[in-house]
């Protein structure tokens, strides 16, 4: 098998893909006959590419670089200078792949990873077709070589452009050959949502409108826009995070029990959730969606600048770096249960969590004092960091009085299972090699998410007032607090 990484000498390959492949190699999980071929416009020898990979693995791998393991892994790495411009742009790649696969005794099973900007998705796929790299799986013989393609989010910047990208890819690949990565879905704790819900008898009976008061999903980033200002100025938090990561997490929490652990069965159920989201349009956008932009502030005691002062950002930018929403899922299970989502940059810490807050016990017995209400039971799923989950309950404090105190049943991956948790990309790359699309987004789900997000974007496009500001290092603008407090609830501090 050959993994061809377009953008092979780019940031994603450097920080994520090559370290992930290295860790799979160390774990002995890579197939025995494998080549990894980076493709880029830049002239680079195989040796230079190996040095590039070694540096990335040294910096970003979850495991320290082991020279012996590296020695074997480095032999799998190659680089081809090729361009998608012109009719024969990929000819050097084809010739080199033939040699590598022949010398390695490999079939021409190939995975094409598009680690390039979305504007290059369609041209790259068209070049692959033009150069006869790809055979449609539906039209190929049973023993024909495998051809799969991996694309990174963002899949478009609106419904129309998402459809255009999907159409372009669909002209060359069957849907079952396409793997749209949302790396959040590769995280252990996200995969554990299904296990937790459907492998334990305690939780699933509670996951409905009868027992759940509300659900909060927070994806907080401590970092600012950094070097991604160019992209971020075109995207903003709603496109960058809500449309994909947070809606995918919501779908995982809210889906109905799938009848099988089959990729399409699970993805069907997720799609059902996305299709059940109550549309937010017109005035309802203003009432249910809050956006904000970070100003100067402090992160962990250090002063940091505001978004509009960041390099590459328009000083008059109206791009949101924070979004909070109140969402309802109009189906039988979740009718009337609000889902509060929030994400933002320059929040106090990097933390992602799903919390399911159960309804309060009646205000009698232990919950009778208005000035000492019991903490409600909360199931919180920590996606990162310190992956795990906990369940908050009340327990009697030791002593002569009967006084409840909030305690937690707490599970931590790190201290329970010992070893470091695999990175999301490791799992996802492995799944593509195995042909398992469960953790990848299907076209209909991507477009359903865009369809739901579009009225919000349209409403915002009609507005030109100043965005609410929040100081860097704070949990978002005051308007976000008011959004949830108006319902008698509060954001859960992380």
């Amino acid at each position: 098998m050959t993994i061809v990484i377009f953008g092979g000498n780019g940031d994603l390959a450097h920080r994520k893909l090559l370290p992930a492949l290295y860790n799979l190699h160390v774990d002995g999980l890579l197939p025995p006959r494998l080549a990894i071929v980076g493709v880029g416009r830049k002239e680079m020898s195989d040796d230079a590419y190996r040095a590039f990979a070694k540096e990335g693995i040294g910096k970003f791998s979850r495991r320290p670089l082991d020279e012996q393991a590296w020695g074997a892994f480095s032999k799998l790495l190659f680089f081809v200078n090729a361009s998608i411009d012109g009719e024969k742009g990929l000819a050097p790649l084809g010739a080199r792949l033939d040699i590598i696969e022949h010398e390695g005794g490999m079939k021409s099973d190939r995975i094409y990873y598009l680690a390039v900007p979305p504007t290059l998705f369609a041209p790259t796929v068209q070049q692959l077709a033009r150069s006869r790299f790809v055979a449609r799986e539906s039209a190929a013989a049973a023993d024909a070589p495998i051809a799969r393609i991996i694309v990174e989010k963002p899949i478009g910047r609106d419904l129309e452009s998402a459809r255009a990208i999907n159409d372009a890819i669909a002209e060359v690949f069957d849907e079952r050959q396409i793997y749209r990565i949302d790396h959040y879905l590769g995280k252990e704790t996200v995969q554990n949502i299904l296990v937790m819900r459907f492998a334990n008898s305690i939780f699933e009976p509670l996951f409905n409108q009868k027992y759940v008061d509300h659900v909060q999903i927070t994806v907080a980033e401590e970092e600012g826009v950094g070097t991604r200002a160019g992209y971020y100025e075109q995207a903003g938090a709603l496109r960058d995070m809500i449309q994909n990561h947070l809606l995918q997490l919501l779908a995982m929490v809210a889906l109905e029990p799938p009848h099988a652990l089959d990729a399409d069965v699970i993805r069907d159920e997720k799609l059902q959730v996305l299709q059940s989201l109550r549309p937010i349009a017109g005035d309802a956008v203003d009432a249910n969606v809050i956006r904000g932009s970070y100003g100067p502030g402090f992160i962990a005691g250090k002063p940091v600048s505001g978004y509009r002062q960041e390099q590459g950002v328009d000083p008059g930018s109206r791009v949101e770096t924070f979004v909070a929403l109140q969402i309802f899922i109009d189906n039988w299970r979740w009718a009337g249960v609000p889902f509060f989502l929030r994400t933002g940059k320059r929040l106090p810490k990097r933390a992602s969590e799903i919390s399911v807050q159960l309804k309060e016990v009646p205000p009698i017995l232990f919950n009778a004092r208005p000035d000492a209400r019991l903490d409600p039971n909360v199931l919180s799923i920590r996606i990162q960091p310190d992956e795990g989950f906990s369940f908050g309950i009340s327990s009697k404090l030791p002593g002569p009085d009967v006084r409840p105190y909030p305690v937690k049943m707490d599970f931590h991956y790190g201290s329970t299972f010992g070893a470091t948790t695999p990175e999301a990309y490791e799992r996802l790359l492995l799944d593509v090699m195995h042909g398992d699309a469960t953790l990848f987004m299907r076209r209909d789900a991507v477009e359903a998410a865009w369809r739901w997000v579009m009225p919000i974007l349209e409403r915002w496009s009609q507005q030109n007032g100043a965005l609410p500001a929040y100081p860097a290092g704070d949990w978002g603008p005051a308007e976000a607090d008011r959004l949830i407090e108006a319902t008698g609830r509060r954001w859960r501090p992380l």
Binding site: F298, I299, A300, G301, P303, Y405, R492
Partner: protein
């Protein structure tokens, strides 16, 4: 009684790597033959304002405060903020350390996380340190180890938690300290917990018992009350005065008379005259003794044997407002405001 630490792991860290370093320590502990549970009931933010050695020394910290005792009894994610407000050039956090202390027998061993951050950054930035380090899904208490009059609690820091724990025995100027606490008292911004207040417990219980015996409160509104205190116990005496004012709904003009005096072993001696009834209540480290002129044997309520660490741990477990303390403080705030005007 000092808590026995079974094992302590500690390493220097940096602000960026605190959680990663803690995770590494947990993994290290996970390799022990003895299973160790992660114990955490709350976040405990310990604030200290001082200029100390440039590195983070857990041994020095543990020697100065009964932290092991506190976290052994009330396992908390401990976040010690050592703030150097006196430095001429404010700087971001410049030293950090993380550790895990384990307690308990092998059959029930538990570990508690400890984080020490030393900074000299702008006070406005301190909440950002706590926000980053505290676990939001737990109650947060702030233990202010300084005299609140000398180093006033930072509102933005304190109100991040549910509870502000302090020890009024540290107060050198009661009036000034109450002036600092007044906004917290008047606006109920946070639950106040005074470790010193616990020492009044036997005396307050003695007054309740006496009231049961006599059928009316000894220190009723019309009674003349004098509180003599040891020279180091002014804050305790004033707390008592506030408690008596609140209980009897006394106006500031009818406040008990409080004065420093030679009290021997006693922390405070209260004399009460209410018509023909005369009583003296003495509070020592052994307890409270009520002697009434008309009664036979004195009424004695023993002082619980409790170390400072145990007292702090006990306060941390109170997650609701101590209404009696709050009422006493409110009465004192009104009293000093009236005397000022």
């Amino acid at each position: 009684m000092a808590a026995a630490v079974a094992e302590r792991l500690f390493r220097t860290s940096s602000a960026e790597n605190i959680d990663a370093d803690l995770a590494a320590l947990w993994r290290e502990l996970g390799r022990r033959e003895v299973p160790i549970a992660r114990a955490v009931m709350s976040n405990l933010v310990v604030f200290r304002d001082r200029v100390a050695a440039p590195d983070v020394s857990v041994e020095a910290l543990m020697a100065e405060l009964p932290i092991d005792e506190v976290i052994a009894r009330h396992p908390s994610r401990l976040i010690v903020l050592e703030h150097e407000s006196g430095r001429e050039e404010p700087d971001a956090p410049f030293a950090s350390g993380v550790g895990i202390a384990t307690f308990g027998p092998e059959s029930a061993r538990y570990g508690v996380e400890q984080i020490v951050v030393r900074s000299a950054c702008a006070e406005a930035s301190l909440p950002s340190i706590v926000r980053r380090l505290a676990r939001g899904d737990l109650p947060t208490s702030v233990w202010w180890t300084e005299d609140v009059a000398a180093v006033p609690p930072l509102e933005s820091l304190v109100t991040m938690g549910r509870q502000l724990v302090y020890d009024s025995r540290d107060w050198r100027d009661v009036r000034a300290a109450l002036g600092v606490l007044a906004p917290f008292v008047e606006e109920h911004r946070v639950d106040l917990a005074d470790v010193n207040w616990r020492r009044l417990g036997p005396l307050r219980r003695a007054l309740e018992h006496s009231a049961t015996e006599t059928g009316k409160p000894l220190a009723a509104a019309g009674a003349r009350v004098r509180i003599a205190h040891h020279r180091d116990e002014a804050s305790l005496a004033w707390l008592l005065a506030g408690a008596l004012m609140a209980a009897a709904k006394r106006a500031p003009a009818a406040a008990p008379h409080v004065e420093a005096a030679e009290t021997g072993d006693a922390a405070v001696i209260v004399t009460i005259e209410n018509g023909a009834e005369r009583a003296t209540i003495t509070l020592t480290s052994a307890g409270a003794t009520v002697e009434r002129a008309r009664a036979g044997s004195p009424l004695v309520v023993a002082m619980p044997v409790e170390s400072e660490g145990e007292a702090v741990a006990a306060e941390l477990r109170l997650l609701s407002q101590d209404t009696d303390l709050h009422a006493a403080l409110a009465a004192l705030v009104r009293l000093f405001a009236a005397r000022t005007s």
